[in-house]
């Protein structure tokens, strides 16, 4: 009776929390076609059976609508796993399935049985099945049982138990293991007479049947459990059970039957509900225990990982000289990480950062004020800060630190300030060094730039100077070209002039002389002495004029002639010219001394002309002197060689020595010494053209000395125009 009270109380309790029918939710389930009387298909093709009816009733009690479809066990089991259906109405609870499904409380417990063909006598125990072929429905808990217990290795799996029984009846296997009640009902229904259950207990194959939902679908599981509890409590369960299992029980109710009913139904029902509640509670305890164990394990894990992270954090802080801190605005407490202790240079055991006033004194005075001001502002208004400060901590180091902080606000009030502190001494030092290096480099760059500017300036100036020079040169070159053009022009004119002189001045002279001669020849008888003298004078003048013309042309030719420089042995030249110039009498009368002279580079033809003219002069002007002596020699004077020729002849008045080299200039009368006055002009012209100088020394009747210079053996002689030349 006590149990009844409990049941009624529970029923009332569950009714209160029954779901509102208006918000009914529809779930899909699936049923097997032939697991009588639990799951089967009625004449209309609908799913029926004890489990189906029970599930509908439980679902209804829990406020759920149910759609049932029919499928083979193995398939619908997979459908539930994959979520294509929400629940299965009949699932035996096995350890294998715990992982796949969540189970409601068991609503019926059945034992299995071994079915064999009628007349089989060799099987009396489970051990006798070893090595025999056993047929089961694929995925049924019987299969799981056989495998779990190792009943036999030979398992023939079929899609349904009907199929399994037919296999057995046909002798294609030795036994079928399944639920006794279901097996008997199935054999009856299919009228298979040749198969009977053995009277053999299988305590290991006791099946608690439950509804199953997908693993983790706790909501549906709770609803179904709830519904089950309700229908168990309000006798619906009993009615359904009576309806489906009655045919198994005998039709007539004898006292014995009643007793049996009491024994088999009422008492088991009471026991069942007790067992059910125990199971529920045990299950809940298991679940809670598991959950708590998990929690403990998780917590331990968390602690471990926290410990590891703290180690890592310490290591990182040490390596990067950084530390964390937190100031609790409410309590005024300060927490430091180990890194912060290191930055401040205090030991964790020797210093308690609790007092803000204590550690702020680590900073230099000015920085203390700054930090204090900022910190107080943060505490009042929130926000963040980022300061670079100088420490003056107990360890005496003047560390530079950077500290960043940020306020955390709750309801507009600062709850805490947290941040980090970093030793940036090395960074600052490096920055300072870099700055110094940069300054130094900049200084160098400035210096170099200034030097370069100066050089560029100089270059600019010299470039400008060069440009001016080039311009001047161009201008001068232009002028020179113009001059050369003019010179060529006048040279051509001069040539034409001298050509004309050479031809046209000579012809009349020739006529003067010629016809004078005809006069002498043809009319000598008619002319007296004076007449003959006059004619002779005419002829002499003509010849003299011819000589003048010839000499002038020679002077002109020498000026225009190309020079051909070569090594000249002067002694040899002088000797040969002397012998060509002097006649036999002169050679006898004169004594000549010619010194050995250095070789010189000059035009041999022209220099011959020089010596010829000078020697001619020496011979001519010595002709009336007692001493007929000529000396030729040379001396070296710096870069030049001075050649000279000296005689002891008539000499000249030094006062007029400048006139000596002029054209047609003579210092002697024609009847004293014959000459045209061109010889020395030619000498001067030739020497000037070869870059030398000419001069003379002398005195009347004391002889004359003529000097000329030539450069010492240079490759090329400068062409010098004679400014005095006509």
């Amino acid at each position: 009776m006590k149990k009844f009270h409990v049941i009624i109380a529970m029923q009332l309790l569950l009714l209160v929390i029954q779901a509102n029918p208006n918000t009914r939710q529809t779930i899909n389930i699936a049923s097997e076609p032939d697991y009588p009387p639990f799951c089967l298909v009625d004449e209309k093709g609908n799913a029926a059976g004890f489990s189906i009816e029970l599930f509908r009733a439980a679902a209804d009690a829990a406020g759920l609508r149910v759609n049932v479809r029919i499928g083979v066990w193995n398939q619908i089991k997979r459908d539930l796993i994959s979520g294509r259906i929400d629940a299965l109405p009949l699932v035996g609870r096995t350890p294998e399935r715990e992982e796949l499904f969540d189970f409601t409380i068991p609503y019926i417990s059945l034992r299995g049985a071994v079915f064999v063909r009628r007349g089989t006598s060799a099987i009396h125990s489970l051990q006798d099945l070893k090595g025999r072929e056993i047929a089961v429905m694929k995925g049924d808990n019987a299969e799981e049982f056989i495998r779990r217990e190792g009943v036999s290795e030979k398992i023939l799996t079929t899609n349904t138990f009907e199929e399994a029984f037919r296999e057995l009846a046909a002798g294609r296997c030795d036994a079928v293991i399944t639920q006794r009640v279901m097996g008997i009902r199935l054999l009856e229904a299919k009228k298979i007479k040749s198969v009977i259950p053995l009277d053999l207990q299988l305590p290991q194959f006791r099946q608690d049947f439950c509804f199953a939902v997908r693993e983790g679908n706790r909501e549906l599981l709770a609803l179904l459990n709830e519904g089950l509890s309700i229908i168990i409590a309000n006798d619906t369960y009993q009615k359904i059970r009576d309806r489906w299992f009655r045919p198994v029980i005998k039709e007539r109710y004898a006292l014995k039957d009643i007793l049996i009913i009491a024994l088999y139904i009422l008492i088991p029902a009471a026991i069942l509900s007790t067992v059910f509640w125990i199971a529920v509670l045990r299950r809940e305890v298991r679940r809670r225990t598991r959950y708590l164990n998990e929690l403990v394990a998780k917590h331990a894990n968390t602690l471990e990982s926290l410990r590891k992270q703290k180690l890592l954090l310490n290591e990182m802080e040490r390596a990067s000289k950084i530390g964390g801190w937190e100031y609790d605005a409410e309590s005024g407490n300060t927490i430091w990480t180990e890194g912060t202790y290191d930055v401040y240079g205090v030991s964790k055991s020797g210093f308690d950062p609790l007092s803000y006033n204590r550690y702020i004194s680590f900073y230099r005075l000015a920085d203390q004020k700054k930090l204090d001001r900022v910190f107080r502002r943060i505490l009042e208004t929130g926000g963040s800060f980022n300061l670079v400060l100088r420490l003056n901590p107990p360890d005496g180091s003047g560390k530079w630190i950077r500290t960043r902080g940020q306020a955390e606000m709750i309801n507009g009030k600062v709850k805490r300030v947290f941040g980090n502190i970093m030793d940036i001494t090395e960074q600052i030092q490096a920055e300072t060094e870099l700055k110094e290096m940069k300054n130094e480099l900049e200084g160098q760059v400035r210096e170099r730039t200034a030097e370069l500017r100066k050089k560029i300036g100089k270059l600019d100036r010299s470039q400008k100077a060069m440009i001016y020079m080039v311009e001047d040169l161009n201008r001068i070159t232009g002028e020179l070209k113009e001059e050369r053009r003019k010179l060529n022009l006048s040279n051509r004119e001069l040539e034409a002039f001298t050509y004309s002189v050479s031809h046209d001045l000579r012809a009349p002279l020739r006529a003067v002389d010629g016809f004078s001669r005809f006069l002498q020849e043809d009319y000598s008888g008619k002319l007296d002495g004076e007449g003959k003298r006059l004619i002779q004078t005419i002829r002499n003048s003509a010849v003299k004029m011819d000589r003048l013309i010839t000499d002038l042309l020679e002077l002109s030719r020498i000026s225009r002639r190309d020079m051909h420089l070569g090594d000249v042995d002067m002694k040899e030249v002088v000797e040969s010219v002397y012998h060509e110039t002097a006649n036999e009498n002169q050679l006898k009368a004169f004594s000549i001394s010619i010194e050995k002279m250095p070789a010189v580079k000059c035009d041999a033809q022209l220099i011959k002309q020089v010596w010829k003219n000078l020697i001619e002069n020496a011979l001519k002007y010595s002709s009336k002197s007692k001493t007929k002596r000529i000396e030729v020699g040379s001396r070296i004077d710096g870069g030049s060689i001075v050649f000279f020729i000296k005689d002891r002849g008539a000499g000249f008045d030094e006062r007029y020595k400048d006139k000596l080299f002029g054209v047609f200039q003579r210092l002697h009368k024609e009847d004293e010494f014959r000459g045209t006055g061109v010889g020395l002009a030619i000498v001067q012209r030739i020497i000037h053209r070869q870059g030398g100088a000419v001069w003379a020394e002398g005195a009347i009747n004391k002889g004359a000395a003529f000097y000329f210079t030539l450069p010492r053996k240079t490759g090329k002689l400068p062409e010098r125009e004679d400014e005095n030349a006509e």
């Binding site: 031809h503 012809a507 006529a511 010629g514 010849v543 011819d546």
Partner: protein
Amino acid sequence: MQNNKNEVEILLVEDNPNDIEITLRALKKNRLTNQVQVVRDGEEALDFVLAKGKFKDRPLKNPKIILLDLKLPKVSGLEVLKEIKSRPESKIIPVIVMTSSQEESDMIQSYRLGVNSYIVKPVDFDKFVDAVRALGMYWLLLNKLPGE
């Protein structure tokens, strides 16, 4: 010297009448005058040498020498020389340039064109006579030409 009276032995090319007279007198002094033909410019000189114009009927025999002044009207002495020395029929005639010019360029040009002698006419008549004698001796008496 026993030549046909019509045959010219000396062709004198000279425009200056004084020079012609002087030259002829110098030739005469050396007894070389009887077969002298005087022409007064370059054109006439070429007409004679090539037997054309007014000299187209001249005897076929070429003169033994040509005395050629360089400064001539119309065709210059150098051009006449060039013409004579470039034609096979006149090439072999000895040409003696007799000029007042002592210019080296004239001399070089003349020898390049194939002149046989180059004589600068002396102003002194006695020396002129000497020169004419020398060239007459050489070219008319000593020198042998083909066909003599």
